[in-house]
Amino acid sequence: MNRRIFMSVHECEEDLLGVVKAVRQQGLKIVDIYTPYPVHGLDRAAGFGPSRLPWICFVLGLLGAGLKVWFEFWTTAQDWPINVGGKPWDSLPAFIPVTFEVMVLFAGVGTVIALFIATPLYPGKKAVTPFARTTDDRFALLLEEEDATFDPDQVRMLCERYNAVRVEEREEKY
């Protein structure tokens, strides 16, 4: 299925924030925004929902810590208990450091992998930027022309009010 995309390119973050707020007020559907750096407040302005990655991080951390405590207990107290320096079989305080490290390792690496899957990002992936300079100094706002009520000319005027340096319409498969 094809859809029509309306793109407006801006030069600075204030213009972008302004135009995003304005199009949201008009009830237009934002497909995506391309920025060279994370613009603060844009997520709220664009109405993008919060990420669920913190939950993944939390669960993985718990999993890592739990597995490690169990593993340390199992190896030193159950599988092959060996008397080391008269310490009890289950030397829980001595297990804390490694448990903590494994928790951080699981949570950190797991979250990053989750990010790569969710975004998605992977080595060798071909980048599809709507406009070449969005990784340099341009901010691009992509709107979807949902139905006939979308008036390209009116939107163009709105965008240009926020110093759009370029406005463009295109067909896109999706």
């Binding site: 060996i82 008397n83 080391v84 320096g85 008269g86 310490k87 009890p88 079989w89």
Partner: protein, 476 residues
């Protein structure tokens, strides 16, 4: 138990001339403990055996008293020329000085048994690497032969020669010493008065001991209770322990050699001893206590203490040193990766590390390797095992014959060779054993008891045969 001391036969020493006056010294030649008159000079074990008093290996030296050294302006290691009159080469000897507290001020003492042709075989002793220094001296031999300075008098050899002159040559050599701090006290400038003497040896006098068998004991803050549940590690079978009687120990070092022979402990050569890497599992710590030249000597055999709460075990990352259920601190050579953490964390510094591939240097030694003990390669920690190979053998034999293990059936090499029977080893869980009784002795103490590592090696207070109750005994 009263002790009687036999009368000294003064007639036997009447022939010794009085100490010479003025610049002249009396040269005393004495046979070396290990080498004898030199007949054992080919034996690398004995060459590397530290002298019981000076702790020097691989060399002979001229012992001077502290006062004589001060008078001559001599420091340890200064090469001295000892000239015994006469112009020929054989009547002079150049040897490094060793300053010996407690020696007569007018005596210079030199060990025999060195400079033997048979010691030329040690030219390659020790590991081969770029910074190594040779084991033999400039003459290609170990030490200098002092025999030409013997004199023949009345058909007998005289080991004492008065009227020798001692002068400095200006050269200096290092002596390969296994112990470089000689007193039981720490340097005075680095201590407060009450921390000067370390409470690691208990000693008392006979008079005080007869009055109170507990005399000489230190009263540590003994650790009450334990953080850890004791039921995790009950010692229900055998519980191997050792007791060493400091009163009996004469420092002869037979145990040191016996242990080296039994356990395939390598000989490392002079350079390695100089680098403080001697490998003997058992050492005899010799401390001087007392002031100036008036010193008492303490010999304290020191070996792995097989601590119940061994600090070495906790730190090994790979479980190469762990505890057995018979109370042994096991060192598993083939598991060791050589982090040396255990040696660092040993309060007694009894762990030995194979810095190089040591053995296989000496062909003769390799012929007498004990097949019952692994030969350790480089990068591995080793230490006293309480001769666990003998324990295993005795246990299996007892089981084979269906008999309980008798007390005394296991004798580690040190105990076996101790002429004073100062070392007793056995199963402390056997109430009839000798060791079980000794650890109840009022003289019993353990070294560094206050750090709660719970050593399995017990010592018995050194009782000096003195009538005064205090004498030169210094309490820490």
């Amino acid at each position: 138990m009263p002790v009687t001391v036999g009368a000294i036969n003064t007639a036997a020493v009447s022939g010794i001339p009085a100490a010479s006056e003025g610049e002249n010294y009396t040269l005393v030649l004495y046979p070396k403990v290990g080498l004898g008159d030199g007949r054992h000079a080919y034996n690398s074990w004995l060459q590397e055996l530290p002298d019981p008093v000076t702790k020097v290996t691989w060399d002979n030296y001229a012992c001077l008293s502290v006062a004589a050294a001060r008078e001559l302006g001599v420091e340890q290691g200064d090469v001295l020329r000892i000239a015994a009159g006469g112009s020929d080469e054989s009547s002079t000897l150049e040897l490094p000085a060793y300053i010996q507290p407690g020696q007569h001020d007018k005596v210079v003492a030199v060990a025999m048994g060195y400079g033997q042709v048979s010691s030329a075989r040690f030219v390659d002793a020790g590991p081969e690497w770029i910074l190594r220094r040779p084991t033999v001296g400039d003459n290609g031999l170990v030490g200098k032969n002092a025999a030409p300075l013997l004199s023949l008098e009345g058909g007998g050899l005289r080991y004492i020669r008065p009227g020798v002159s001692v002068s400095k040559t200006g050269r200096k050599t290092e002596l390969a010493c296994t112990q470089t701090h000689h007193t039981i006290t720490v340097p005075a400038e680095l201590a407060t008065a009450d921390t000067l003497r370390r409470p690691i040896v208990q000693e008392t006098t006979l008079a005080a001991f007869l009055k109170d068998p507990h005399s000489g004991q230190h009263h540590f803050h003994v650790f009450e209770g334990d953080l850890y549940p004791a039921e995790d590690h009950p010692y229900t079978g055998h519980r191997w322990m050792m007791a060493i009687d400091l009163t009996s120990c004469s420092g002869c070092s037979a145990c040191v050699v016996a242990c080296q022979v039994e356990n395939n402990v390598p000989v490392v050569g002079r350079d390695e001893v100089l680098r403080r890497r001697d490998m003997q599992w058992m050492r005899i710590d010799r401390y001087y206590s007392g002031e100036g030249d008036e010193v008492d000597v303490i010999h304290q055999p020191m070996l792995c203490q097989h601590c119940e709460n061994a600090s070495c075990e906790n730190v090994c990352p790979v479980l190469a040193t762990v505890h057995t259920d018979e109370g042994l601190n096991a060192q598993v050579y083939n598991r060791c990766v050589g982090t040396r953490y255990c040696a660092n964390n040993c309060a007694y510094k009894v762990r030995r590390f194979n810095w190089f591939n040591y053995l296989h240097e000496d062909e003769v030694e390799n012929l007498v390797l004990n097949p019952d003990v692994s030969v350790r390669s480089r990068g591995i920690m080793e230490k006293c095992s309480f001769c666990v190979q003998r324990i295993q053998e005795a246990k299996i034999e007892a089981k084979r014959h269906g008999e309980p293990l008798a007390d005394g059936a296991v004798k580690p090499a040190c105990q076996q060779s101790c002429p004073m029977q100062a070392i007793v080893f056995g199963d402390a869980n056997n109430p009839d054993s000798q060791i079980a009784k000794l650890i109840q002795s009022p003289r019993q103490f353990r070294v560094l008891e206050e750090i709660n590592v719970r050593p399995s090696v017990h010592y018995l207070t050194l009782v000096r045969n003195r009538t005064e109750e205090e004498g030169s005994v210094h309490h820490g």
